[in-house]
């Protein structure tokens, strides 16, 4: 029964355009962070905090044009690309904190997180390798 629902779900997603991959939140493989709460994650990507469980972290983004970023923003932050851009424009151009770090694509994300122990980012579940560990899976 459960399997049927999952299959139906996957099928739905495929029908809906096939791009809806599972998004995972990842950090450096040896990161001190064990897990991250969805609310903290939202604040992290809105620049409202730069800490997870008291540890200083650096959130890293994919480019605005990335479908994965749009999906992440929609599901985790709850903002569409227009609102996200307006929010960050207001923040950046009124001097309230600096923009997040950004990498070109998932491969660069893997490399960046592999080099930065305080990094936290996201990618599609299929892209994960041994350089990073998964903190949260976003369905």
């Amino acid at each position: 029964m459960k399997r049927n629902i999952l299959t139906a779900g996957v099928f739905c997603c495929l029908l809906a355009g096939g791009a809806q991959a599972e998004v995972v939140v990842v950090a450096h493989a040896k990161s001190d962070i064990a897990a991250v709460d969805a609310n903290v994650l939202k604040d992290l990507f809105l620049g409202k905090t730069a800490k997870v469980g008291g540890l200083a972290v650096r959130a890293v983004n994919l480019p605005d044009s990335s479908a994965l970023k749009m999906e992440f923003d929609e599901k985790v932050v709850g903002k569409d690309p227009g609102k996200m851009k307006a929010y960050w424009s207001n923040r950046i151009f009124t001097g309230q904190g600096k923009p997040l770090d950004q990498v070109e694509n998932e491969a660069a994300m893997l490399e960046w997180l592999g080099n930065n122990k305080d990094g936290i980012g996201y990618m599609s579940a299929g892209a994960v390798n041994n350089k990073v560990k998964v903190l949260l899976t976003i369905p």
Partner: protein, 479 residues
């Protein structure tokens, strides 16, 4: 000077050793707006007239943030701004060092942007608000002529689960340029301090602000050196010269006629006087006596003209002399509210300006904007007004109705169109003790609204249309 400063920041980045660069962080963001606007009047309104212009809001901004080292909580921030209305001269609107003391607390030192109203800090970044430009009555330079200062600002912001609170404080000094009476008046801000408290949720922001300014301005000499004042002074000077010359001429002619009469009287003595004189001599004598009356009248007229021109010169001197110069104060109190739940949008703000010591009006200005999102399209309506009070020199009262639409072409670009109808406020009574009233007999001060017009310098009144229609469109972007 400021450009040099920001270039220095850039040069600093370039000369840092590679090892430092590796751990450092340099980010560039930009924004730009192209705005076309036109009114239905010949007089310049803000920056626009009947011929249309790109000058009012067209600009390009570049913001750079350089953090030398991830372990040190310092960043260098500059924002270079280039406006069409300033012939694209590059201006460092911001140039400061940011010290992130904690997650909640930031200190900025250098040239900092002033958080006067809700949208003041993002005034040039069109993507962050619905209108083409924030309502001119409150946000215009005629109300608040300074946008940034050299000094420091403190910013404390704390997020809770659903709400946040923020406190801001700044202190600084700088030079200012005040657009008033159709010209730009220079002054110096001896101090400007402000405190702002705001709170809200994700959809709501409520904001209270208080700002205190000390300013020094030499207005009388600046106003009297205006081209219009120079022309007027030259005209009065010319009248004095002409009347003096006319008086001298008439005097000479009168003296000549007198001499002629004396000569003729002497010539008539051998005939025993006028009665016994031959007819031609009699006629000559009568003509000379008549001319005496004419020349006498001319002397009188020239004398009156000279007196009038002299009185005008004295009055003008008195008018300019009556304009207070020196120390002034300005206090701004404002309250603002912004709400946007993704469907309904409301922005409203009221600001009170109290002036002391310098002859600018106190103002009460404010607006309310309502809008509704239909996907990427946001139609909105604004009522905005400013009321000038307690001034003998300028009255800028007016109210505007603005109907606009914003269309988000891309997450990073918006197209906006607006129609604005503006009506000027009523004339006001001047302070009866003002020399403008006692000397020139002009008890009433007409409103010039935000028309950029040089008034008649003897009465400080001007003749402008009492309403206008304005159409604008803009494309605004961030990158």
């Amino acid at each position: 000077m400021l450009i040099r400063k920001s270039l220095a920041v850039g040069a600093l980045a370039l000369t840092l050793p590679l090892s430092v660069m590796a751990a450092s962080d340099f980010k560039v963001n930009g924004f730009s707006t192209v705005q076309l606007s036109a009114t239905d009047t010949d007089e310049l309104y803000v920056q626009t007239d009947k011929d249309g212009t790109f000058n009012e809001g067209t600009l390009l901004g570049l913001q750079m943030r350089f953090a030398p080292n991830n372990d040190v909580p310092l960043s260098f921030v500059t924002q270079l701004l280039s406006r069409a209305q300033n012939q694209w001269a590059v201006d460092a609107d911001w140039a400061y060092i940011n010290w992130k003391v904690s997650e909640e607390f930031n200190v900025n030192v250098g040239r900092v942007k002033l958080p006067i109203f809700l949208i003041s800090e993002a005034y040039d970044v069109g993507i962050t608000y619905p209108w083409i430009r924030p309502p001119e009555e409150l946000y215009g330079f005629s109300n608040v002529p300074m946008t940034a200062l050299t000094g420091l600002s403190l910013d404390y912001r704390k997020y809770f689960d659903e709400t946040w609170v923020r406190g801001q404080f700044y202190y600084g000094r700088d030079k200012i340029n005040v657009p008033a009476l159709g010209t730009i008046l220079d002054g110096e801000i001896t101090h400007m301090t402000g405190v702002v408290f705001s709170t809200g949720t994700e959809n709501l922001e409520v904001r209270l602000g208080y700002h205190d300014v000390g300013v020094v301005m030499d207005l009388a000499s600046q106003l009297s050196s205006l081209p219009a004042a120079q022309t007027l002074q030259a005209q009065i000077g010319q009248s004095v010269l002409e009347a003096t010359a006319a008086l001298a001429g008439a005097d000479a002619q009168l003296a000549g006629a007198n001499a002629q009469i004396n000569g003729l009287e002497a010539a008539m003595i051998p005939y025993g006087g006028y009665a016994g004189a031959p007819a031609p001599l009699q006629a000559q004598y009568m003509a000379a006596v008549n001319s005496l009356t004419t020349y006498g009248a001319a002397v009188l007229t020239a004398g009156n003209d000279l007196a009038a021109a002299g009185a005008q010169a004295a009055a003008l001197g008195q008018v300019f002399g009556s304009i207070p110069s020196g120390d002034g104060t300005a206090k701004f109190k404002n309250i603002g509210l912004r709400y946007d739940d993704g469907t309904y949008m409301l922005i409203s703000e009221v600001g009170d300006r109290q002036i002391g010591g310098i002859p600018f009006p106190d103002t009460l200005a404010g607006f309310v904007t309502v809008g509704m999102h239909f996907g990427k399209v946001l139609p909105h309506f604004t009522y905005s007004a400013v009321e000038s009070e307690n001034s003998n020199l300028s009255n800028q009262s007016q109210e505007s109705y603005i109907l606009g639409v914003r269309y988000d072409v891309q997450p990073w670009a918006a197209l906006k169109m607006e129609y604005q109808y503006t009506e000027l406020g009523d004339a006001q009574m001047r302070d009866p003790s003002s020399p403008l009233v006692t000397v020139m007999g002009a008890p009433v001060l007409t409103s010039t609204g935000l028309f950029n017009v040089v008034p008649d310098l003897t009465t400080f009144n001007s003749d402008v249309p009492d309403s206008l229609n304005k159409l604008s469109m803009s494309l605004t972007m961030v990158f």
